[in-house]
């Protein structure tokens, strides 16, 4: 597995745990917490992807030496 794939996989694993624990924190009942989990995970991953996109654009625009 190449380096980028490993980092993406690690990110997804950590995201899954972060969202699971934060779902437990925000919802005291197990049923609703489990139900909201897929949507929260999707929002977390997509939100992180947007932050990554902005950072890449900034890097390419302001920090590129090419």
């Amino acid at each position: 597995m190449d380096d980028l794939s490993t980092h993406v996989l690690l990110f997804l694993v950590v995201s899954a745990v972060i969202v699971a624990i934060s779902s437990m924190f925000s919802e005291p009942e197990d049923g609703p917490a489990l139900k909201m989990y897929p949507r929260r995970l999707l929002k977390f991953v997509v939100g992180s992807g947007l932050v990554l996109a902005v950072m890449l654009v900034c890097e390419h625009t302001f920090a590129s030496i090419h």
Partner: protein, 283 residues
């Protein structure tokens, strides 16, 4: 004064701040003399033993460029504020010349850090006692659900254990598997480099929030010299710290759940809300 504050034993903010400064002072403030004495002796004895074993050198782990005025604020020892302030005043960052670490340095710093965590948990207990009605006790349901501060402490001892004590077994087991698994992954990626306070001072502090799981792993693994830098060492260090910080969310979840029952109110929609949904029980 809000209507629900009229029956309180004391001001919870005052009780918390007193306990943060001197463990047991918050309990003394709400009239729990015996508990105050026990808490003070246990927490301060842990800190004192840690200082004696480590010769008060834990802040000397920090490299010179990181020895700022607030460098100690992000350590677990900050939970026992009074002891830490005395510590900084007495020992500071050591002298100009580096000194060899004492033989029991690791155990000593683990004890001072444990003292800080216990002090914070004890302060949260003082906060709860101050919220209870004057001359009253916890809601009858709360006894069956265990004390919220105790359950939070158990969550620090082993992630998920507090949930299990509250009868939320499935949640507790899932939390245990997730956080211990994440910590195991982190340790594997970093080849154990994450288990060293000297090497990664602040990341270690985050990881310490995972409690004895991290400590036992550290003492079992030791601090061997790294022959080469592991490829994913940085990822391992960050993930280990994340696992510890996520355990704080679990402790807050357990505490909030137990506190709602101790005060006889339904779980509020906002987990950090201070507003009771229904009136506290009269005793």
């Amino acid at each position: 004064m809000k209507p629900h504050e009229q029956q309180r034993t004391g001001d919870p903010t005052v009780a918390t701040l007193l306990s943060w400064l001197v463990p047991g002072a918050g309990h003394l403030y709400v009239g729990q003399v015996h508990l105050a004495l026990i808490g003070f002796v246990v927490i301060e004895a842990l800190y004192l033993a840690g200082v004696l074993l480590s010769h008060g050198m834990f802040l000397e782990y920090l490299p010179p460029e990181m020895r700022g005025r607030f460098a100690a604020a992000l350590t677990p020892e900050a939970g026992n504020l009074g002891a830490l302030l005395l510590h900084v005043r007495q020992y500071g960052f050591g002298g100009d010349e580096p000194r060899p670490w004492p033989a029991w340095m690791d155990l000593g710093t683990a004890l001072t850090a444990t003292s800080g965590i216990l002090s914070i948990l004890f302060a949260s207990h003082a906060n709860l006692l101050a919220r209870l009605p004057q001359g009253g006790t916890q809601h009858p349901d709360a006894r069956a659900q265990r004390d919220p501060a105790l359950c939070a402490a158990l969550t620090w001892v082993l992630p998920g254990l507090g949930h299990i004590m509250q009868g939320r077994k499935a949640r507790g087991v899932v939390a245990l598997v997730l956080l211990v698994g994440l910590f195991g992954l982190a340790t594997m990626l970093a080849h154990g480099a994450n288990l060293d306070r000297e090497r990664h001072f602040y990341y270690w502090a985050g990881q310490f929030l995972l409690g004895p799981v991290a400590l036992v792993t550290e003492f079992a693994h030791g601090h061997p010299r790294l022959e080469s830098i592991p490829q994913y060492k940085d990822a391992g260090i960050v993930i280990g710290s994340i696992a510890g910080m996520l355990n704080v969310l679990l402790m807050l979840d357990v505490y909030g759940y137990g506190e709602d029952r101790a005060l006889g109110r339904e779980r509020a929609a906002d987990p950090v809300s201070d507003q009771p949904v229904q009136e506290a029980p009269s005793v």
